[in-house]
């Protein structure tokens, strides 16, 4: 039994505002493969009196926090935040999936969810001559856990460094001193750990005198921009700066990429923060590149299932993978490259291409990688 006080919970999350229209469930990507039904959950919480048992709802861990529900709700209810809140309640009772437990503990101990040592966090950059961040530098480049540690992710970080160095952008990294941003910690419901991380990180950036920051991952961008206190620090995703550099001709492409490319909008860049045009602007500026759009583009983009802690959670229906559906959609456009701008999307889509044996047909690349290639 995992009981919560449903009445107080419903009030705290403004669930009474819901008119049960079903738009959330109708647009939720997880309803394509699981029992997750946000609308029904809301009504159950509202009508449960006081005392609602969360145990019969394993689908709570299927949610990728893509925010489709919250963005489309006509009454401004956020079923996504409700699910995060329910996860919080479960976490508080210690009833967490073992994979998640490991990731959370690792984040606490080692500053990353991958159970890898702090001392290796900056290793990817040693031979690149990237400056360590000091006060007075224009930007802090916040690399993130996946681009720091994961070999596939490191390629993106290296590409980014090459691009911004070429453009003469004044930036530094924290290397081994960089700590996880906590985005997935919060989405997994570990509110206490997240609060601690916010305090630590905010303190660190203040001491370092950071005023502007850009990130590799839309998840890090989102959490620093929207969940951390507004401390006057300006946060951007790298595509926003890159698009500006391209438009101002501070970066020009002497090479070309003669490929048909389709772009997958990462949920945390697109749906969450409305950034659709900048990545496309960069791609369109690359000579020889032909950009085609999938039907599910922009606000209708199909979630890759990487967010909301899903990098560590298989969910209730591991056999079906939305990333595989997404790769099929990309192939159908005739594209040779499936471009995106998020390390989680890169990993999920890459894996899907391999699972489907489509490596000959289509390649998954981050926008940074493509831009760096065309330099």
């Amino acid at each position: 039994m995992l009981q919560i006080e449903s009445r107080a919970f419903a009030r705290d999350h403004d669930l009474f505002a819901c008119v049960q229209c079903g738009k959330c469930t109708g647009g939720c990507p997880m309803t394509l493969k699981t029992k997750l039904n946000p609308r029904s959950l809301i009504l159950r919480l509202l009508t449960a009196g006081n005392g609602f048992d969360l145990e019969p709802f394993p689908e709570l861990w299927d949610c990728t926090t893509c925010s489709t529900c919250a963005k489309r709700c006509p009454k401004q209810v956020s079923p996504m935040e409700m699910i995060i809140g329910l996860r919080s309640a479960i976490v508080e009772k210690g009833a967490v999936h073992p994979n998640v437990k490991a990731a959370l503990e690792s984040t606490f101990r080692h500053g990353n969810p991958l159970s890898l040592p702090r001392e290796q966090r900056g290793a990817w950059a040693t031979d690149l001559g990237v400056k360590h961040y000091t006060a007075g530098m224009e930007y802090l480049y916040y690399v993130g856990c996946t681009p720091s540690y994961d070999p596939r992710g490191q390629k993106v970080a290296r590409a980014l460094v090459a691009l911004f160095s070429k453009a003469g952008v004044d930036f530094g990294i924290l290397g081994n001193d960089e700590n996880c941003c906590g985005s997935e910690v919060r989405r997994l419901g570990e509110a206490g750990l997240f609060e601690m991380m916010v305090e630590d990180n905010t303190g660190a950036y203040k001491e370092l005198g950071v005023t502007k920051m850009f990130t590799t991952s839309p998840h890090c961008y989102n959490v620093y921009r929207n969940d951390y206190p507004k401390d006057g620090m300006q946060v951007q995703h790298y595509t926003q700066i890159l698009a500006g550099l391209v438009a101002d001709k501070k970066i020009t492409f002497s090479g070309s990429l003669d490929k048909t490319v389709t772009y997958h909008d990462p949920c945390y860049l697109g749906k969450h923060n409305g950034i659709f045009d900048e990545p496309r602007a960069v791609l369109k500026a690359i000579p020889g590149l032909k950009l085609v759009e999938m039907d599910r583009s922009r606000e209708k983009s199909l979630c890759c299932e990487g967010g909301g802690g899903r990098m560590w959670l298989e969910g209730t229906n591991p056999a079906t993978r939305l990333a595989m559906m997404r790769v099929q959609e990309a192939v159908e456009t005739g594209a040779q490259v499936l471009a995106t701008a998020c390390p989680f999307c890169v990993l999920m889509l890459d894996e899907a291409v391999k699972t489907l044996n489509l490596e000959e047909k289509i390649q998954v690349l981050d926008v940074a990688e493509m831009a760096a290639q065309a330099l």
Binding site: R11, D14, F16, A17, C18, V19, Q20, R39, S40, L43, R44, L46, T47, K75
Partner: protein, 449 residues
């Protein structure tokens, strides 16, 4: 602007609710004489029975009483309360009407509205008050509510011991108490004849008789009441001075049930009554405000929050914690000292039993029981639902089937207050056109003579 210009044509308005009052004020402001006839002792109608109005939560009396006072004081309006129109003949521009003035048994010139008679009456606190929808009591001599216009007492001929049995003890308590000598049991009904150019019918509505849905327990369980009765409980001028209590107890669980006597083909009431979704939202809000900590549930089929500010008010009420559940309850049963409402919650897809201390039925708006009599008197067509038929459903909703006789307000179909006011003004416009044309014809013929 003089009220005594014999040549100026006049209008007759039947019904002194907000529709009749609004039409009267417009026509009178334009300079024409108006006879405003109301069958009950005071003008004000249904709106005077309401506590607060949606979506603004204006207190109904606060916005109505100034209009009532204006109508009572307007030099061009002759108020005939406690009167009924008995006959109308003639044609547009030249109608002849007969009005019966029922005896109040109180001399209105002497009565100051002090209320000593009612306090002294042998039946004080024993007669069911219609104004309070049967939730409160009054004496046999009464004013319907404290802000009545005119504020004159009336003896109820169906309750007064003297009038029903011929003798009231050794002495008339009311007469003894009255210092102005206003009680007069020798009064008789009087008939007056008036000549008018136009008639506006603004006779209003009745509510659905909830005993016709016996499975909901109205009439059987004291904890089941109608929205009209709830309104009286919530009203500062009501039997509990605004305290929403039953038998002295404040309910902790309130359940509202929409569409009782509306959208019901089997009961002969297929129409939507238009106002009940919002009326219930308002009452749910009042319950939330006055019964802290109470659980409030509304069972509905659709929520028709269509007007200006309505959806926003519906949003507000849900934010306050009122729970809306889609499903039409099939029955209300007793469980110990409280009730249980059985329904299918269609969105959960499950049967539910919701416990309640108070169940409020949103009764529909229906044509008045005497609508057919009025229709016959005025030769008006009624539509299938029994409301008065308009000449064209889109562009002539104030014209009746009789030229020169117009319709205003709920007698033509359910409306909320803003719709009623607009409709009444539209009827006034139509009437003013006829009055202006009649006046012109009169002037022309006078000049020609």
């Amino acid at each position: 602007m003089t009220a005594t210009d014999v040549r100026k044509p006049a209008a007759l308005i039947i019904g002194g609710g907000i529709a009749g009052i609004q039409s009267a004020l417009d026509i009178a402001d334009a300079g024409f004489k108006v006879y405003l006839v109301e069958r009950s002792p005071s003008i004000g109608g249904r709106m005077s029975q309401l506590d607060k109005t949606f979506p603004t939560l204006d207190c109904s009396a606060c916005i109505l009483t100034p209009k009532m006072v204006d109508a009572g004081r307007h030099p061009n309006i002759e108020l005939l309360t406690y009167s009924e129109v008995t006959e109308v003949t003639g044609q547009p521009g030249a109608f002849h009407a007969q009005i019966k003035k029922k005896p109040r048994y109180v001399d209105v010139d002497k009565c100051s509205g002090c209320g000593l008679c009612a306090a002294a009456c042998r039946l004080t606190g024993k007669v069911s008050s219609d104004f309070n929808a049967g939730m409160g009591k009054r004496a046999a001599v009464y004013v319907p509510f404290p802000q009545a216009v005119p504020l004159k007492y009336t003896v109820d001929p169906n309750e007064c011991i003297f009038l029903t049995r011929g003798v009231c003890g050794k002495t008339f308590k009311c007469k003894d108490a009255c210092t102005a000598g206003a009680i007069n049991f020798d009064q008789k009904e009087e008939f007056v004849e008036v000549e008018v150019a136009t008639v506006i019918n603004a006779t209003g509505f009745d509510v659905f008789d909830a005993t016709r849905r016996p499975e909901l327990g109205y009439g059987g369980y004291p904890q089941v009441i109608t929205t009209l009765e709830f309104e009286r409980l919530a009203s500062a001028s009501g039997p509990t001075a605004g305290r929403i209590s039953l038998n002295g107890n404040l309910p902790r669980r309130v359940v509202f049930i929409q569409c009782v006597g509306s959208r019901d083909v089997g009961l002969g009431a297929p129409w939507c009554s238009r106002v009940c979704c919002m009326a219930v939202a308002k009452q749910a809000h009042l319950a939330h405000e006055r019964l802290p900590g109470a659980e409030i549930t509304v069972f509905y089929i659709d929520i028709r929050a269509f007007g200006k500010g309505f959806e926003e008010f519906y949003d507000r009420v849900r934010h306050e914690g009122v729970l809306y559940r889609k499903g039409m309850p099939s029955e209300v049963l007793r469980r110990g000292d409280h009730l249980v409402v059985r329904a299918e919650d269609m969105l959960l897809g499950e049967m539910v039993d919701v416990e309640a201390d108070l169940v409020v039925l949103a009764v529909g708006i229906a044509p008045r029981k005497d609508a057919t009599q009025v229709a016959e008197m005025l030769h008006l067509r009624q539509d299938e639902s029994g409301f008065f038929a308009e000449d064209h459903p889109k562009v002539r909703t104030v014209e009746s089937s009789q030229p020169g006789i117009f319709l205003a307000g709920c007698c033509q179909g359910p409306k909320d207050i803003p719709d009623t006011v607009a409709h009444a003004k539209a009827a006034a416009s139509a009437a003013m056109i006829l009055l202006a044309q009649t006046e012109k014809a009169m002037v022309t013929s006078y000049a020609a003579n």
